[in-house]
Symmetry: C2
């Protein structure tokens, strides 16, 4: 039993064991260095990626400004789902913030799994898509309704380890504010807390 099999069995414990083993075995291990790109604008996202350990961020560039879409760390998936599903060119960058050990599943292998007799992996795919939808709906809602301070508090509450692994100016870019603004927000929070 290898590492990724064990992890997936725990993560997808509601699914039949043989199916999950089959799923895990479809992935291949790769290693990336800090600063390496998993994906760059203009490319097509070929793989669904599971991070065994490491730290990556996705971002877009617009008018020379960087907008961070998400951070993915140990035991999380990362991909450009849009580019992956449609095999269309991406406008996203995925860059390693630390050395990473990843497991990749190509579009072809994923579809081969989906198209097995009786489509045993569609439910897994459905549930993963439902999860990722919920996540992004929540994020939209927060961007619409919450000010920067609230968004920051929610983030450090939900993913407290992020501030250990990601510099503050990147967290600011993720929140959609300037690094200077996050600094001010943090200052005003410590003031009101004391």
């Amino acid at each position: 039993m290898n590492a990724i099999q064990e992890i997936f069995l725990k993560m997808f414990s509601r699914f039949p064991e043989e199916a999950i083993i089959q799923f895990a075995n479809a992935f291949s291990e790769k290693k990336l260095k800090k600063g390496d790109f998993l994906l760059q604008e203009g490319q097509i996202c070929r793989d669904l990626v599971f991070i065994l350990n490491g730290n990556m961020m996705c971002y877009y560039l617009k008018d020379g400004k960087r907008y961070i879409d998400e951070f993915s760390l140990d035991y999380e998936f990362i991909t450009d789902y849009t580019s992956f599903i449609y095999q269309s060119t991406t406008d996203k960058y995925i860059e390693c913030l630390e050395d990473c050990v990843i497991y990749t599943l190509s579009y072809e292998r994923m579809n081969a799994l989906y198209d097995l007799p009786h489509q045993p992996f569609d439910r897994l795919g459905r549930m993963m898509a439902e999860q990722i939808y919920l996540q992004w709906h929540e994020k939209s809602k927060s961007l619409l309704m919450d000010d920067a301070t609230e968004r920051y508090l929610k983030l450090i509450n939900k993913r407290p380890y992020l501030s250990q692994r990601v510099p503050q100016y990147l967290i600011a870019e993720y929140l959609g504010i300037a690094p200077e603004s996050l600094s001010r927000i943090r200052k005003s929070l410590t003031n009101t807390k004391v």
Copy 2:
């Protein structure tokens, strides 16, 4: 062949015809009046809803302010997917902006479909979830990267009929800005256009 069967056959033309007929037949017709609520805060979302014709909006209330999550018109689905999937209480309101004829599919019937032998509807569910994810990811991206003018232009470009069916102050609330700001944005657009 009834109306919804025909519509679904066209919408889901990549799926086997019998499956789509079965899916369509699981829905029940209902009628709602302008001002009626399909869902209110504290309730549990029991149904996935397809709008045959009509016009609804979803919104949240926070500190007495309304934030519009989406508009759904003829031939579109609407639900609180989060509350629907988990059968958890919602913080969302869904209100009719016009009289509506809708088709509803209850959580129980949906799951009965999912759990049929060989799970023939998981692929449909997966693709719907993938679609809805893409939509909300796009929206998050726009909220993060685009200013109000750009968000407005994208909206009227993507859904030009909306401004015929939805008053301007609701469009402003959807964009996350004050009605007065939208008025000013529109003014500045006509000026630069001429």
